[in-house]
Symmetry: C2
Subunit: 431 residues, 2 copies
């Protein structure tokens, strides 16, 4: 596996017509599909913002194909974006598969110069965000995402890797700057200033958007988080770990789309998961009807939020106790009983710092989805604008509080309690 981004001179974007021939030249893929290329059904299904995604089905089975485009699909050729994101996605998929092979799709083929990845077809999985909008419960999710994060973050960090190996991994991802810049701009910068990309439910949120743009405490807090995002390569991150990057059934969880992967602060991935659960929680009031109330589902969402953090922390701590093979906190310094005891306290305090980071990043993620460019369908699909604005206002108010006063929320239960209290708030003119 090379760490150097490939040469794209022979790159050519596939389409539904060209793809069967292309796949037909790959014996393992052809065998998995079965029959002849002419028999294969191809559907372009990319509903994300960036790439081509095809589902190909033959008599014997199916595959998913993901190909990067040299621009942002949502916007078009006016917003170029390097094909090398497929290289970083592949690097990340391979690394994740070493630690949690059951939680990521298997890579069946990678064509570097075509920015082209053939993946195991996930069936009957759906994008978890869509399931949550329908109030589907995912009893495996907390366990699985907690393990995904604990394993991928711990095992790519200085707690597990020798420094030289970790630095080589940092360097391998240093070129994924165009994708990082999207995060830097859209999450940490634009929602806090007047920017053409921003949009929100208007006029209802005009006031709070203006308030946030004038809120010096909030802007400093998000800037501190941005600096951490820029300069704290603690572990290899997924980089975009929201519920739209999870394909799930009630029995299985698969994390997809790690093209934003890079070495960054662990709290960013954790915060992304917490944020998207909280956004969904607040959105439920917009989907509830008298016939189909959502209070029970909201309880499930918050219970899941609590479990995600608690299970993550437990798994991460357990790895730290049993697999601390990295250069940080060197074992020979902590062999005596009293040092062992203090090291265990240090682990707990390290996790408390990580939790604070995660809350800050969660808040940044919540705000960007309401005041920035890319919104969540959890909220977007609420048709009644005043009702949507109410859900969004609650989410924004909680996010502002979490970002500026993260230290006041020492446990995940204090966060879900605050969410519950916020969900009971009304705001003038909304709801």
């Amino acid at each position: 596996m090379s760490d150097i981004a490939p040469d794209y001179r022979d790159y050519r974007a596939q389409d539904e017509a060209s793809l069967p021939d292309y796949l037909g030249r790959l014996p393992a893929i052809a065998a998995r599909l079965g029959g002849r290329a002419a028999d294969w059904a191809v559907r372009e299904v990319g509903d994300g913002n960036l790439n081509l995604v095809f589902i190909v089905e033959g008599p014997a089975g199916g595959v998913a194909v993901k190909q990067a485009l040299p621009y942002v699909r949502l916007v078009g050729e006016s917003w170029p974006l390097p094909l090398s994101r497929a290289h970083y996605e592949h690097l990340a998929l391979v690394e994740q598969a070493r630690h949690v092979p059951d939680l990521v799709p298997a890579v069946l083929h990678y064509e570097p110069g075509q920015a082209f990845i053939v993946l195991e077809l996930l069936q009957p999985h759906i994008i978890m965000r869509r399931g949550m909008i329908q109030a589907i419960r995912y009893p495996r999710f907390a366990d699985d995402i907690a393990r995904f994060m604990a394993e991928t973050l711990f095992r790519t960090s200085d707690l597990c890797l020798p420094a030289a190996e970790k630095k080589a991994r940092i360097a391998a991802f240093c070129g994924n700057t165009a994708l990082c810049k999207i995060t830097e701009d859209l999450i940490f910068t634009e929602p806090y200033m007047v920017a053409p990309n921003n949009r929100w439910t208007s006029p209802e949120l005009d006031g709070i958007a203006a308030e946030f743009r004038a809120d010096a405490e909030l802007k400093l807090a998000v800037s501190r988080l941005k600096l951490k995002f820029l300069a704290a390569p603690e572990a290899m991150l997924h980089g975009d770990l929201h519920t739209g990057s999870v394909m799930a059934t009630p029995e299985q969880t698969k994390v997809i789309d790690p093209e934003f992967a890079f070495y960054g602060p662990m709290g960013f991935d954790i915060g992304a998961v917490l944020a998207n659960l909280l956004l969904n929680y607040f959105s439920q009031d917009g989907h509830a009807t008298p016939e189909a109330p959502r209070a029970d589902y909201q309880d499930w969402v918050l219970a899941t939020t609590v479990e995600v953090w608690q299970k993550f922390a437990a798994h991460f701590l357990s790895l730290w106790r049993s697999h601390a093979t990295g250069d940080a906190y060197p074992a020979p310094l902590f062999e005596d009983a009293s040092s062992q005891m203090r090291l265990e306290e240090e682990r707990a305090s390290h996790l408390r710092r990580l939790f604070r980071d995660a809350l800050g990043f969660a808040a940044a993620k919540m705000i960007r989805r309401i005041l920035g460019l890319a919104h969540n369908i959890d909220l977007e699909w609420i048709e009644d604008q005043k009702r949507r604005a109410l859900c969004e206002t609650r989410a924004l108010r909680l996010a502002r509080e979490l970002m500026v006063h993260a230290a006041d929320y020492p446990t995940i239960e204090t966060v879900t309690d605050a969410a519950r209290a916020m969900q009971r708030q009304s705001f003038q003119g909304l709801g």
Copy 2:
């Protein structure tokens, strides 16, 4: 300038006999020396631990030549060390020269495959550490080293560079892991455990060395610093910024030997300077005689210590106010008066955090020079063992206090006051 470490297949170590011929083939160098190669006087003067260093003088002028060896010179071929350190040293020298050309030696020639750098000969400069042992005052030092640090740290950080450019620089230095590992082991690890490399003034310091090895608070504090050293690429560091890496006259300061350069936490360079001033301060009681007391010089050392931090902070803040062209703390977020004011407070609080980091790293540097492998001649040259042990004990006691309770020392004056108080302490059986 390539960022990729060179190929060393044709590497050959020079000696006094071979060097004139080699330099004779470099027209610019030959012209600078004047006359013919046979006329040039060559002296091997490397008194450092790692490399060959030659001074070459001809009728018209002189040059210094530094060539890496494939092992640690101090130890021999049994401790291999990559030649690529010359590559990183050259990268760092070029970067430093962009920001503080008057404070680093000019690079006259670089031969990548030979790990061979020809530098401006610094005359009549001496290693500042040696000057300080003789109680020579350097009235330029505080200004110069403060500017060196502020310029090189600020201008290679996220406060000044766009993220993509900074990440490329991080990646360029990610390969200098062998040199980083020396720091990781010798500074952050071995002094706190039983390790064959360790040595100290024995038996006088046996007790305190054992006490430190059992001191869980201290071991956690140094491990937190180690993690920061491993995972906080805030800026390009010199990486070994002690008074032995400074060549000075009372009129001029030149910083040399950046082969440990990499992207790390800013406090590490600052702490190195503070540590070496404090070590010299404590060593002066070992050099004072009734005829030549050192009290006035000690006052100068502490006054310089105060100035170094204060001038650094002032210069760094001024750069931040005027040259914040990086992606951190984006200017459009802080345009209104109240945000401007809060941003200025944030800068001050950022500097307070940096000061805490610097104190921790300073303490680690002090401890390693007394209990670890590589010692300082400031202390080593004190012949009376009990007297030396007294100076060392004071330095160790202050260092332990600074590392574990850095937050209790909010200003540099509180540190120098603590040093003064410690210098009056006696310890049983010593002095």
